[in-house]
Symmetry: D2
Subunit: 450 residues, 4 copies
């Protein structure tokens, strides 16, 4: 998953407004994002926030502290001269990957740290919030202008951890035989309409971020690429469709799988999607609302690249490249005017919509009737391995070191999921995970050659 970078060249310089106004809006957005994080953890017990149930999962407590460490390290300690380090042990404990920001505690031992307690971490958050808001209000305008993009980075970063909090707590609760519920919800019944293919023509296209809003360094530079003719499915693959693959021996027949995928199936004993469970002849799945019967009309989720790729081969199709995906979606991207924060996210993939009601946030996009369900329910695997765009250069310093470091053995996912903050979704966004990852809300959409 990408993290923020200081490369702010992607912002459109021309849209700047009066400093005072923009700082006021920044403070307001900061308050709202931080509050959102805290509302996410309200349903949890202290005990839920401490443990780490697999290496990829971090304790909720760690997320709460790490996002605050980010603001303290890259904003307060850098731009606010009078700011004193809150606790000298915290930078070591709450740094994640930023090698250049100093030594850090081992990722796979975050669940071994009982102190600081959750209450102490919340006090740390409040401390950072107070000083950061005070800084925005009182700082010299020139300094504030320099710090503003870094604060915006921190907010984007916090939104990424909001999504991780949700996927991690889902795992934490799921491994408990008591299967606790995060928040009850009701599923929507019904069948999905059949998938249809939408055609796109060969040609030279421009892709990548074009300015006019925040973007990560790896989303640019904008550049040209050549695409041959292709067809793209109008919605992601559903649970019902995936069950047909399973019934046809999907997890037992090697011929559809990548060699490494099949080795993973055998080594881990995969016989169904992650979180699925057989009960009395029916498929159930663990959700943030507890155990539920698998809904046929919902997009299949928690699917690895290997499973998506095998399904596509079984179906006589393939996964799209990230270029194909972006070209198709950019043509019909929804307006995000009414998008909100994660507290408004669905928390569970929504069923495939009836024809004509597409949109990441429910609003029907102009001119995108062909594509019925856009994105915002499950991250969509592409067949593109994660590589730099032509002309890409990573940012400088600790903040720039992150994204380029992972351009190896990862596949690109596009779109966004039911636990992605709504303002964090855009068609140029490049998410990436290793091909066996399943603990995110990951699904896929088919493509094929004409």
């Amino acid at each position: 998953m990408p993290v923020v970078s200081p490369d702010i060249a992607h912002r459109t310089a021309g849209t700047r407004e009066e400093p005072g106004d923009s700082l006021g809006r920044l403070a307001e957005a900061y308050r709202r994002i931080r509050r959102t994080t805290e509302r996410l953890v309200e349903p949890l017990a202290v005990e839920d926030c401490v443990i780490q149930t697999m290496e990829e999962v971090s304790p909720v407590k760690w997320h709460l502290a790490h996002t605050s460490w980010f603001f303290e390290t890259f904003t307060l300690r850098k731009f606010a001269p009078s700011y004193a380090l809150y606790h000298e042990g915290y930078p070591y404990l709450f740094n994640s990957y930023y090698v250049q920001a100093g030594e850090r505690h081992c990722r796979d031992r975050r669940g071994y740290i009982s102190r600081p307690t959750v209450a102490e971490v919340m006090a740390f958050r409040r401390h950072v919030d107070e000083h950061l808001l005070q800084f925005i209000e009182q700082a010299d305008p020139e300094v504030a202008q320099k710090a503003a993009p870094v604060i915006e980075l921190g907010m984007q970063h916090e939104q990424q951890h909001q999504e991780l909090i949700m996927t991690d707590i889902k795992h934490v609760l799921s491994v408990n035989p008591l299967r606790p519920v995060y928040k009850a919800f009701e599923g929507e019944a019904g069948d999905a309409a059949p998938q249809t293919w939408v055609p796109f023509d060969a040609g030279v296209y421009e892709i990548g971020h074009a300015g006019g809003g925040f973007a990560f360094d790896i989303e640019g530079p904008r550049h040209r690429c050549f695409l041959e003719d292709f067809l793209l499915a109008d919605r992601p693959v559903t649970n019902a469709e995936f069950m047909a693959f399973m019934e046809d021996g999907g997890y037992r027949r090697s011929e559809w799988w990548l060699s490494m995928g099949w080795a993973t199936v055998e080594e881990r004993g995969w016989t169904e999607p992650f979180y699925w469970e057989r009960r009395d002849g029916a498929w159930w799945t663990y959700t943030l609302g507890g155990m539920k019967p698998v809904a046929p009309n919902e997009p299949v989720a928690h699917i690895s690249y290997f499973e998506a790729d095998a399904y596509a081969r079984w179906a006589g199709a393939r996964l799209p490249t990230e270029q194909e995906w972006e070209v198709a979606m950019s043509a019909c991207s929804p307006s995000v005017e009414d998008a909100h924060f994660l507290e408004d996210a669905p928390m569970h993939p929504r069923p495939a919509r009836p024809q004509g009601t597409a949109g990441a946030n429910g609003s029907p996009p102009a001119g995108a009737a062909a594509l019925r369900q856009l994105y915002g329910d499950v991250w969509e695997w592409t067949r593109s391995q994660y590589s730099p765009y032509p002309g890409y250069a990573p940012g400088e310093g600790a903040l720039g070191e992150y994204n380029g470091k992972f351009m190896c053995n990862q596949f690109v996912l596009r779109g966004g999921s039911c636990v992605t903050p709504r303002t964090h979704i855009r068609p140029t966004y490049r998410n990436f995970f290793y091909p066996e990852a399943t603990w995110q809300f990951t699904g896929f959409r088919l493509a094929r050659d004409p």
Copy 2:
């Protein structure tokens, strides 16, 4: 470590008193032991009670629940017909090794379980306590007489977990870079008097439990053994003595080590005892009172069998057999009249006492002047691999399955440590651990041939 067993043949039948009196005392002892456990966890935060920092360590929360599950399963559900299971998910979560008592949750994933919360576990404890005390008070006398030995077993079992709570929480706090303090204490300064050798004669001796109090099945049957002449040290090896071994290349020279011991040294990179740390040219160690300089006059602790054995070879001596140890100690065993529960245990190994003040609990034993420091500070490794005594037969059923299952690749330790409940210490007690174990308060005493 042994656990309780239903083999109560070791109790001396002749010492029975009036049922009413004895049940009253049982209830009183039960209350006191359960209260002791809860007092042990008072200094802890909820977060400390949830995590598992290595496979051998269990979360404190698990210990609190498991000991209650033991009383619920083997007393209430067996002898109290009207008792209803408190929670149907708990037996699976809180069973440990008792295969015959049903399926159980994996030991190495106890730290993945956030629910029930600590508060919910404490409610479970109170529920069990109420019903168990009510049962003792109101049960039919015949039924109560049958249940009484099982309740006593449960109390012995709880005492074992009191020791484990202390050793486990020590590990949990120690891995935190912030090095939290469980309870502050002051060390005692000074040097230890030189070790002297106490001679014992060859002959046929009787060892093993002789009746007259509680004992585990593996402590018997009492039987004869032949010992050649031997000499035993009058106190355990101290930190100062162990440092001399280290300075002579103890951890760098393979010639003193067992082959498997040396492999362990190399694989784990051991260069000093567990919990020790070099700071500015001096040795420090993590204790329940936080980081402290290593005290020269204290018994060395957290020592594996491999280290004890290598030290002994370096010192031109050897470890005693468990038979030698028991024969020597039985001759001078302290009275335990004034012994108390774990809240009175020292929580840290005491320095070697000045001549003439030996005793597990501080009281000078009659006729044991030769052995200056008896036991009760560190468990003492013997060179005896853990095997059954002649004529040993394990008890029946779930409670009997435990002890005999571990007679392989473990060494016997004798005595008791600074976190062993005082009433849980006796000269026939056979503790056992695998030879690389270091997270218990384990030390050793030298022996040699004439």
Copy 3:
């Protein structure tokens, strides 16, 4: 590494000649390739041919048998009705990855099989040769026409195993502390001329195999791609240049490495290229001619993708994409008229040539003066992760299953090495390995953006 496939659509149908002539040439080529394989193993002792020194390495004996199994299985048993299986145990032992061709012996246990002996395997080879040549000579012309492409596939396959025999035996001999010599050779002294950059213009290019000779399925279909402006180095990076990277802390400073690359450096303790060794302050390397001082002017070899990528970042450059490489090389591809079999291959990377003498086989290509050293010394890592070309579809059946299965976590290499058979080198060839692989003769060439 790709293997042969039955997709022969890439051959230019128009160039067919008289059947009799072409079958005669096929027989002659078959004889020559098989003889080459056997000449490669002549310097070896029986003992050298049996062992497997790491999972990627196969015993030479296995290569000798497997290539014969390939002809027996896919030609003789399929097209020669009277042919009887040579030994019923061999198909199980000598199948490699071909799941559809039946069960197979574990790859990582090939070194556990002492029988059949080397002599028995050579008898199997002779048996297959006799029957195959007889088949070519006597078969019904129609059947022979069907079998011919499969025989050609088998010959391409055998050439791939010729390269593997050389890289595997290099490893086998290298792990022996006696450091045996495969075949003595003399290095060429001198310094390499400085690298220069050759510019290429942005535009839509065609790449992929265009017909007119053998190619693997994954080399096609030919298709269009868009490239932005780029610069390519006129020769691979040399040992002297790589040593400058090492002296600047190349293996000690994480900032130039991919995250997974740095983890590999730390886990495996890499401090120099594979096969290098420090002796008396100088770098030596194991070669097929024994231990030699590292020659400054030779291309650095046995380099993983991680090392190549880190070097490029250190040098302020990057690796080329496979599209850039192919576009550049296709413009100046050498004629291969005088190319020969592996017995004529150099067996060690040749030094960077003086300006104006480029070519895979030494002949200066027309119009390629700018690119001084083409390919044929070391395989060249590209930054392209191994993916299908647009429109790619794998072949049918056992022979088609191979190449598409590995499109995950592998990087493409282009060119060919000093142990690649000369006729096996062409600009569209797509080799691939996982990024930590070093036991092949792998090097790299720099690229950069204008």
Copy 4:
């Protein structure tokens, strides 16, 4: 398994004869033992002698070289001043555990070494033989007297490796799906007579080597021990008896197994003894004569301690201690007058003999009628973990370092197997292996309390 040590105090000094005679006999015995080793490998192909099929197994080539290295290092280089090292690379390659004899090649990589070839190793053997025999003949008598015990040690050591050659080559051939035959043999049909119990009385016994022939240091010193009453089976457990255990769920029911034993069963998926295989509803086993039906009347072999111990518990019995075993066997030890070298060993466990024909070598022992089958077919597991006898002190220097190093996590086996050289069998011999070991010819005999 014990190895030779220089502690020759166990030899009875009084039985010395004239130096010339004794040296002549030494030379003759040396020649014969060395020739035996070479006859053992005659049926093998060169390829069989190179590979290592699991860590415990060494290549036959290594055994041939290592035993010669032993004579070169500890006799020729120490006592023959003019002797020059044969090859400077060999000591590193062919040292095994002797840390004090210098650096050594990793045990688990012995199968990675193709050179020296088998022919070169045989030349090394001949070289050592010539110089050693010349040394015995020509050395100064005083020097020869000093060297003689070390030569005898080397011969004992070579006999141990004769047994290992046979068990290792059995494994090497067994893993080959072609299942090659080492040497054909015919089994003996029939059923075994029922087992009977032989009683022994409680009392103080002397055990350990008493002088009068060669013994390892760990067989002494002779000392007293006290045994309670016990009963010992008159023969080892047979295949038929073990099959009854299997049919009763022996490998499926945890209640009879040690905890670590059951973990081993689950981890390795054990469902039958090592080398057994189910074919068409019957049990077959790999033998040095190839695949054979399991013979009901033969002692069960290739049994781990865990399996032996579980069987005993299932049978309501236990394994004997090594003291019980030695006391019982010493009373009826066969004369070894007519015992010979390994070429006369049976190479496969013989069936339980009819009553009255006991004996390690077939000769009925005087006064041992009660014990029908003594030892010499399978090593017999005892319940004794391998520990030093009272008063044991290891020898000095490299040769003394071995045996005491393994007193941890190993169990003692007594007797000798069908591939133990006949002169290498005696009632005080203490063999030892870790409890999961199965690649030796290991079986067991039951004991029980009255």
